[in-house]
Symmetry: C2
Subunit: 198 residues, 2 copies
């Protein structure tokens, strides 16, 4: 145990995700040896983010305005919506430069164990966005795990009543990986989804 | 890239030791979903630590006063000083409840590659503490790595001119470990330091 405030900082840091007691201690000592000015900046950015950042009223992405920069962009393709679990997935997909449509952030995935059902996700808002028939394709890009698959299945069923094409991101071998190290499920999916090349 | 302030927070967090871009992003999103009150508390503890915590004028340990709680404790044994690299080593040794003397924090170890020589460590202050002949034993508890060993060797030579017993923490097999998994150097040290048990 450290004296007073140092231990308090270690405890506070230890509450952040992915930071154990050892890392918290290491960061606390780093703070002690950092310029006051830099520490103040970190502290003020923390508070500012919490105060100023909110979720886009249309898609649920993070933004400092009422709507996010993607929803405000008139050059995006209004005929397709990509459905993701979290705002960080939007950033990951944007990085690929493959997709030019809009997004819809669910705010998680269906997970009965964690008590998260369809009503806890932004699914109603998605249905409202699809109501005016502008959107012709919904791309479901939830995570390729149990919760993500369950959410994808639920959405596929829900959307099947509408006249909209519903697609799901391909599962398969990660590019740059070794076939022999792929797990059976991934390798199975890669076979299922095989494409004719000539 | 995220919009404005979110990216700024990710960048700031990424400057902390042991936090890569992925962790920084995860923590930033955690902050977005944390109660404002909790975020403000973390921010104010950060600033407070940097403002209030300083280094003990006697031993170099962290403290909020002029001297640390150990140096102020009259029940500690004034005849022995344990020399460590960092304040976190003091906490680790205190946890063992094996040592009742005082500490001396060097503030690092000799490392020519990083440009750290004896003059950059609190060695002069240690010599001053030893001048009045109260201390009868100096226990060198620097890390059992290259820099720590170099520092220990330097200190041993320096202290050999004084009439003081100098000891070094034992190297050997970690308790609870498997002999077959010990590296050669550790196993070698364990042989060297073997004790007669009957």
């Amino acid at each position: 145990m450290y004296e007073g405030i140092v231990q308090e900082l270690i405890d506070e840091l230890g509450r952040l995700p992915g930071i154990g007691p050892k890392s918290a201690q290491r960061i606390a000592f780093h703070i002690l040896q950092t310029e006051s000015f830099d520490v103040s900046r970190l502290a003020s950015v923390l508070v500012e983010v919490r105060e100023k950042v909110r979720f886009c009223e249309i898609c649920g992405n993070v933004t400092q305005e009422v709507t996010c920069s993607i929803c405000r962009d008139p050059r995006r393709d209004a005929t397709s919506i990509c459905v993701v679990e979290e705002a960080k997935d939007v950033v990951a997909i944007e990085r690929t430069r493959e997709f030019k449509g809009f997004y819809h952030v669910l705010g998680g995935a269906i997970s009965p164990i964690d008590g998260i059902g369809p009503d806890n996700l932004r699914i109603r808002q998605l249905m409202t966005r699809l109501a005016d028939n502008t959107v012709q394709e919904v791309i479901i890009a939830t995570d390729p795990n149990l919760e993500g698959e369950a959410t994808a299945t639920y959405l596929t069923r829900l959307l099947s009543s509408l006249e909209i094409k519903v697609t799901r991101l391909a599962s398969g071998l990660p590019v740059g990986g070794d076939l022999e190290y792929a797990d059976e499920v991934t390798l199975g999916r890669a076979f299922e989804g095989r494409r004719t090349v000539s």
